[in-house]
């Protein structure tokens, strides 16, 4: 009898071992679609890294790592040549070639969400099956950054009409489309089943090219859990193995828990306030802007309000980004702030309005309230209105308030992107300064950013972007608060440390579960 039991146990053990490991994962959102080009969002990029594969990808220390492109070289000012990996198969079984890369790039330029990022890309030149030249219309230093967005799609699979007679390659945002419900990428996982907003199951792709990867996850069950408390509870009760993000109020609880492995790092999303110089003439005065920055204890907000889950900032891009300037000093100094207000002739202060979202950034409403009380100390009486993000952006665009909150993450993981959207002079035609509700405008800064955007020499470009950050700092062009920290937590034995990164797309294909 005992022997039989032992045998049965051994069999069960072997069976589970052979099946590989299942990772039960809870994130705050699931991908909006199965079509990688339908929307540019964090959830979509996380998905795309599982099911598709980029030409190259970011490493943890912000360098590039070959994926479907084995190596690449700049041939001239306008061209970068990519040498593609041989013997890669799509999930449909079709072989991967340069034609797929060209097809994908063409589709990216049709996508409403991505075309803006690919405006300076011309049609690529296919040299042979495994070599492709990516050509830009003007010198463009971010070809590699953008190559991390090129996830080749199976051009044969997505060509033609589906059984409803609709084109398979259509990019459709709100209705059925073939690409919204079917996938064929080269990635480590295939989509086994998907119930939008409820559950998604991925299976490891047996023919995956990367045999060197130590990753041993054979199945991922992804559940979106938006409610913070529920997500933490699911991890603590063992219903899931891996959660992200960790709600700030649970940081301490999870990091001190022996059975939980938590990883955090400074993210690249900067939280700022913009001071509208057009709407509120007082803010056109440099001294007033400097006073506002000096009155706000952003390190205090990061430490107390965010409980250490944010990194105080004096500039837009975080450390590791090209524009990062070492040693920009914190400016909080209440006495100096009062002095500056006096010098500007506003000793008695003035009134101003402020808007902020209440469900977009971590603790957004509380941060706004804290800033209101800090500004009251230098006589600026702020009336604050907060609202859900669904209503916020229209108000933001209409510039209804004198002080407006905005957080920004650079899609290109590059410093210039922040300035382009947040600081450059608003210009309807070029689309620059689209989110510059401060109406800050400095020709010198614009010129530097524009120059950096066509500078292929990395060192020169770095100097230009650092110059931009310095000008923005001197000019007190906006109020920087902090970068939100990123966070992930998993059960012990799930080694998430090596696979998470500042871009917040975990490379689960390489995840090792002991």
């Amino acid at each position: 009898m005992k022997k039989l039991l032992f045998l049965a146990l051994a069999f069960v053990f072997l069976a589970t071992a052979a099946q590989g490991k299942t990772l039960k994962m809870a994130l705050d959102a699931d991908p909006e679609s199965m079509d990688p080009h339908v929307q540019l969002s964090g959830g979509m990029l996380q998905y795309t890294h599982l099911v598709f594969d980029p030409l190259i990808r970011w490493t943890k220390d912000m360098k590039f790592e070959p994926r479907l492109a084995e190596k690449w070289e700049r041939i001239d000012e306008l061209t970068v040549r990519f040498h593609l990996r041989k013997g890669v198969k799509f999930h449909s079984g079709n072989p991967f070639t340069a034609a797929d890369v060209a097809w994908t790039l063409d589709r990216l330029k049709k996508s409403e969400d991505f075309k803006g990022l690919f405006t300076s890309f011309a049609a690529p030149k296919v040299i042979d099956d495994y070599t492709i030249d990516i050509v830009t219309t003007e010198p463009y230093p971010l070809v590699e950054n953008m190559a991390t967005y090129i996830f080749p799609m199976d051009s044969k699979f997505y060509t033609g009409n589906d059984d409803k007679g609709l084109p398979k390659d259509a990019i459709v945002k709100t209705e059925y489309s073939f690409a919204n419900q079917n996938e064929s990428g080269t990635g480590p996982f295939t989509v086994e089943s998907r119930e939008h907003g409820v559950k998604m199951v991925y299976k490891r792709f047996a023919d995956y090219w990367d045999k060197n990867s130590k990753g041993n996850v054979s199945e991922i069950v992804l559940t979106p859990i938006k409610e913070n408390a529920t997500r933490t509870a699911a991890l603590l009760s063992g219903d899931v193995d891996f959660i992200a993000p960790v709600p700030p109020q649970d940081f301490e609880r999870l990091s001190t828990n022996k059975d939980i492995n938590m990883v955090t790092m400074a993210g690249s999303r900067i939280i700022t306030f913009q001071l509208n110089q057009k709407k509120k003439p007082e803010f056109a005065n440099l001294k007033v802007r400097q006073a506002v920055i000096a009155a706000i204890d952003n390190a205090g907000i990061a430490a107390k309000l965010m409980k250490g889950t944010a990194t105080p900032a004096q500039q837009q891009g975080p450390e590791g980004f090209d524009g990062y300037v070492e040693g920009l000093k914190p400016r909080f100094d209440l006495e100096k702030a009062k002095q500056l207000m006096k010098e500007a002739g506003f000793e008695k202060g003035f009134e101003a309005t402020m808007i902020a979202p209440n469900n977009r950034y971590v603790n957004d409403e509380k941060i706004a309230e804290a800033v209101v009380s800090m500004l009251s100390k230098i006589g600026i009486k702020v009336s604050l209105k907060t609202m859900p993000k669904a209503q916020y952006w229209d108000e933001f665009d209409a510039q209804v308030a004198d002080i407006q909150m905005i957080g920004w993450h650079s899609d290109t993981e590059d410093s210039a992107n922040y300035s382009e959207y947040l600081l450059m002079c608003p210009n309807k035609e070029t689309g620059k300064g689209q989110y510059n509700s401060g109406n800050y405008c400095n020709a010198k800064l614009d010129e530097l950013v524009n120059k950096a955007n066509v500078e292929n020499d990395r060192a020169k470009r770095k100097a230009l972007l650092q110059e931009v950050e310095k000008i923005a700092y001197e000019d007190a062009s906006y109020v920087p608060l902090h970068w939100q920290n990123l966070s992930w937590a998993a059960k012990k034995g799930i080694d998430i440390e090596p696979i998470v990164n500042i871009m917040d797309f975990p490379y689960i294909g390489d995840l090792v579960i002991k």
């Binding site: 409403e112 969400d113 939008h196 938006k226 409610e227 509870a233 603590l236 669904a390 309807k428």
Partner: protein, 325 residues
């Protein structure tokens, strides 16, 4: 009789028109769905083009007219932007979860509130009665999400007995995704059902108790005691039967409230039903789905009320006559 039915049905249609109009007016103020459908760096012009394509730039009445036409002629009450499917399909697929939750709660409430209410009415001074009343006070005053989080903390995190979120395994029975037929599904429903019951139960216990106490004081019950009838007969047949009428009336109204309260329960427990759907739709500014949800719930209430009215009219001609004036 025929005229009465026609009048009721016409009234129902008018009510539905008003609901759809209000829903549609609300939709204009919830926010911009296109923001939720695009990355933040997408240009304003591009966004406007999408809005144009979705018909969101048209004047309010044009949009409303188009909606009514689709609803009446094709039975199409809109397209969910987030789910990329017809709104009706989405709502119907989420309904079973909520209905099962409400069903289990109703059963629990009936099974628990009747004996508790009767007991505390018959023996109001006993310790157990006082305990029941004490707990019901707590139940009424503590917010449901607190109860829910407490339940998760005790039964999922500390004891590890029950799952903390989701519906678990479901079985498809003639198109109805049921979680009540699997052990896993039943385990999942236990905590949310308990939370919801904890909120609704006190009301019914108190209602049954006070009604019953009143009835026990009436002349005919006293007369029954005087006749020397057995206790059980007096309590259950004479007294309780008369307690039931007001309880059923209130209960009917409370089903509506219950559906509203599932919104909070479903959010905390990640229960994939209608309440969860509604809240998410608000957050995502999935405006078409919101309107569809309001219409769907409206139709249920209106149909139930109309049918009840008609049945009342059939059973009790007095109602018809007073209605005529």
């Amino acid at each position: 009789m025929f005229a009465f039915i026609v009048r009721r049905v016409l009234q129902a249609i008018v009510v539905m028109l008003i609901i759809s109009f209000i829903g549609f007016a609300l939709k204009q103020n919830v926010g911009d769905p296109v923001r939720e459908l695009t990355g933040i760096s997408v240009s304003a012009a591009e966004r406007d083009a999408i809005r144009e394509k979705l018909g969101l730039n048209d004047p309010f009445l044009v949009q409303y007219g188009r909606f009514l036409k689709g609803a009446v002629l094709e039975g199409n009450i809109g397209q969910s932007f987030f789910y990329k499917k017809p709104a009706m399909e989405v709502i119907v697929s989420k309904a079973p979860a909520t209905l099962e939750l409400v069903l289990i709660c109703s059963v629990l409430i009936v099974v628990l509130s009747i004996p508790m209410g009767i007991y505390s009415a018959i023996y109001p001074k006993r310790l157990l009665s006082r305990l029941i009343m004490g707990f019901s006070t707590i139940g009424v005053s503590v917010p449901i999400f607190l109860i829910a989080i407490l339940l998760i903390y005790v039964f999922s995190i500390k004891l590890g007995w029950l799952p903390s979120y989701g519906r678990g395994e479901t079985v498809n029975v003639w198109g109805w995704e049921s979680g009540l037929l699997t052990v896993d599904g039943l385990k999942h429903i236990l905590l949310p059902a308990t939370a919801l019951t904890a909120l609704m139960l006190p009301l019914f216990v108190r209602l049954i108790r006070s009604e019953m106490m009143e009835v026990l004081e009436t002349e005919y019950v006293k007369f029954a005691w005087a006749k020397g009838l057995p206790r059980v007969r007096i309590w259950f047949v004479h007294a309780f039967k008369n307690t039931l009428l007001p309880v059923i009336t209130v209960g009917g109204v409370q089903i509506g409230t219950m559906i509203a309260f599932t919104i909070l329960t479903e959010t905390v427990f990640q229960w994939g039903g209608l309440g969860f759907l509604f809240l998410e739709a608000v957050e995502r500014a999935d405006t078409s789905l919101l309107v569809a949800y309001l219409i769907f719930v409206g139709v249920i209430f209106v149909v139930v009320n109309t049918v009840v009215d008609i049945i009342y009219g059939l059973v009790n001609p007095m109602v018809r006559i007073t209605g005529r004036k």
